[in-house]
C-alpha cells in the first residue's frame, strides 16, 4: 500500500507513459470502429471518460467493502449502470450521434480500460487518486482516438469534422474510412509512439 502512485502521478501516467491505447493496447474495439470521423471519435472519448470517472469514484468509495472474489461483479455492475445512463442521455439529447455510434456505446460496458482502472487504481486508492487517474486515462484515450480519427477523416474524405479542409481535387482515399484504414493508421501511429520512446530512452541512456 505504501508505494502506490500519487494522484498527480496517476493523472500524468494516463496521458502518455501509460496511455491506454498506445501503451496498454486496451480499448481497441472503439479505437478501430468509431474513428472514421472526428465527431464520433470525440463523442466516444467523452462517453468513455464520463463512465470511467463515475465508475472509478463509486468503486473507490466502496473499496473497503469489496470482497476479492466478487469484485469483478461489482465493477461490471457499476460500469453497466453508467453506460446505460450515458446511452440514454445520448439518445435523448444527441440523437443523430447516438444513431451513428450504434452498438458501440453499449459496448463500453466491456471496454477493458475501465475495468482495468477499477482494478488497478480505484479499488486500492482514495477518491482523489481514483478521479485523477480516471481523468488522465480519459484524456489519453481521447487523444488516441481523435488522433487516429483526424488522420482517417482528412485522408479519407478531405474533410475534418465535416468541414472541407483539403482542396476538393483531393482524391479521397476511401480505404482510410473503411476498416483497413483503421488498422493502417493505428499500426503506423503505434510504431511512431514506440520509435519516439526508443529514441528518448537511448538519449537518456547516453546521458546516464
Amino acid at each position: 500500500m505504501t508505494n502506490l502512485p500519487t494522484p498527480f502521478e496517476r493523472f500524468i501516467q494516463g496521458i502518455l507513459p501509460e496511455n491506454p491505447v498506445y501503451r496498454q493496447l486496451l480499448g481497441l474495439c472503439p479505437t478501430l470502429a468509431v474513428t472514421n470521423g472526428l465527431k464520433p471519435a470525440l463523442t466516444m472519448a467523452v462517453a468513455v471518460g464520463a463512465v470511467l470517472l463515475s465508475a472509478n469514484i463509486i468503486i473507490s468509495l466502496i473499496r473497503n467493502l469489496l470482497k476479492p472474489h466478487l469484485r469483478i461483479v461489482v465493477f461490471t455492475l457499476t460500469i453497466a449502470t453508467f453506460v446505460t445512463i450515458v446511452d440514454r442521455l445520448l439518445a435523448a439529447y444527441l440523437y443523430q450521434m447516438s444513431k451513428a455510434l450504434g452498438p458501440y456505446i453499449p459496448l463500453i460496458i466491456v471496454n477493458c480500460i475501465i475495468i482495468c482502472r477499477c482494478e488497478v487504481c480505484a479499488s486500492r486508492q482514495n477518491v482523489l487518486a481514483a478521479s485523477a487517474d480516471a481523468v488522465g486515462q480519459a484524456i489519453g484515450f481521447g487523444l488516441a482516438l481523435t488522433g487516429i480519427a483526424a488522420i482517417r477523416e482528412i485522408l479519407g474524405t478531405g474533410m475534418i469534422a465535416g468541414v472541407q479542409l483539403l482542396p476538393t481535387a483531393w482524391p479521397s482515399w476511401v480505404i482510410m474510412v473503411l476498416p483497413p484504414g483503421a488498422f493502417l493508421t493505428f499500426g503506423l501511429l503505434l510504431a511512431l509512439v514506440n520509435w519516439i520512446d526508443s529514441v528518448r530512452s537511448n538519449n537518456e541512456g547516453r546521458k546516464g
Binding site: 466502496i62 466478487l70 461483479v73 449502470t81 446505460t84 439518445a91 440523437y95 479519407g156 473503411l178
Partner: protein, 228 residues
C-alpha cells in the same frame, strides 16, 4: 455444556457469514440502488427519445411529398400541413403485413402519402420512408431513416444525389437497378461498389408500392386520433 453451546452458536454465525446472500450483500444493495437510478433515468428520458424518433420522420414528411425546395418555401410561409399517422393492413396470400404511414393534407386537400418500410440491406436492416402522390402513381420522395451499410460505399444510399433518382418515377412498372447511366425510364443507377445496398433499397421500394398501391383507401387504413 457451556462450551458446546458456544460452539453451536459460532457454527450458526459462521454459516450465516458464509451464506451466498451474506457474501453478496454489497452486490444486492448496489443492484437495488442502480436499478432505481436507471428506472428514474428511463422515466425522465423515454419521452424525449420517442419524440426524437417521431420528429425525425415528421421533419422529412413535407419534403417527401413536395420536394425539398417547395417544402422549404411552404415552411417559411407557415402553410397549414396536416399529417395524420395511420396503419394499413395488407392481407395477401395468407400473409398479413402492416405498413405505418402518414396522410398529408394541405388546406383540406389530400397532397400525398408517406409510407414507412424496411428490409434487409447488405449489413443490417434498412428503414426507409417513401413519399407517394395521392393515387400512389408516382414516387415523390425517398429518405433513409436507418442503415448500417459500409461507410464510403453502401452508405451513399443516404446521399440526396442517389435518393433523388427515385423522384418522379412511375409506379406502374417495378424499378430496376442498372449499372452506369441507364436509358430505361424506370432504371435506378446503382451506387458504384454497392450494388447490393442499391438493390436492397430498390427492392424495398418495389415491394412497398406493390403492397400499398390501390389500398390507400379509408377502408383499409386505420388512422390514429392524434393530429400532428
Amino acid at each position: 455444556m457451556e462450551r458446546a453451546l458456544k460452539k453451536r452458536t459460532a457454527g450458526v454465525a459462521d454459516r450465516l457469514k458464509n451464506s451466498n446472500f451474506a457474501q453478496a450483500w454489497l452486490i444486492l444493495v448496489l443492484a437495488l440502488i442502480f436499478g432505481v437510478a436507471l428506472a428514474a433515468v428511463q422515466a425522465n428520458l423515454s419521452g424525449v427519445i420517442a419524440a426524437n424518433k417521431l420528429n425525425e420522420t415528421l421533419e422529412r414528411v413535407p419534403e417527401l411529398v413536395w420536394g425539398t425546395a417547395t417544402a422549404a418555401r411552404m415552411a417559411s410561409q407557415n402553410a397549414s400541413v396536416d399529417i395524420t399517422p395511420g396503419t394499413v393492413t395488407i392481407k395477401k396470400d395468407l400473409k398479413t403485413s402492416y405498413y405505418n404511414l402518414f396522410r398529408v393534407t394541405h388546406e383540406g386537400k389530400l397532397a400525398g402519402w408517406v409510407v414507412k418500410a424496411g428490409g434487409q440491406g447488405y449489413a443490417d436492416k434498412i428503414e426507409l420512408i417513401i413519399g407517394l402522390d395521392p393515387g400512389a402513381d408516382t414516387i415523390t420522395g425517398l429518405f433513409v431513416l436507418q442503415q448500417k451499410e459500409t461507410p464510403g460505399l453502401g452508405n451513399k444510399i443516404t446521399f440526396p444525389r442517389w435518393r433523388n433518382q427515385f423522384i418522379r418515377k412511375k409506379t406502374s412498372t417495378p424499378l430496376v437497378v442498372t449499372k452506369g447511366k441507364s436509358q430505361v425510364p424506370n432504371g435506378i443507377d446503382a451506387v458504384t461498389g454497392a450494388t447490393i445496398s442499391s438493390r436492397s433499397v430498390t427492392g424495398i421500394v418495389n415491394r412497398t408500392i406493390r403492397d400499398v398501391k390501390g389500398r390507400l383507401t379509408p377502408a383499409t387504413i386505420r388512422f390514429y386520433e392524434r393530429q400532428l
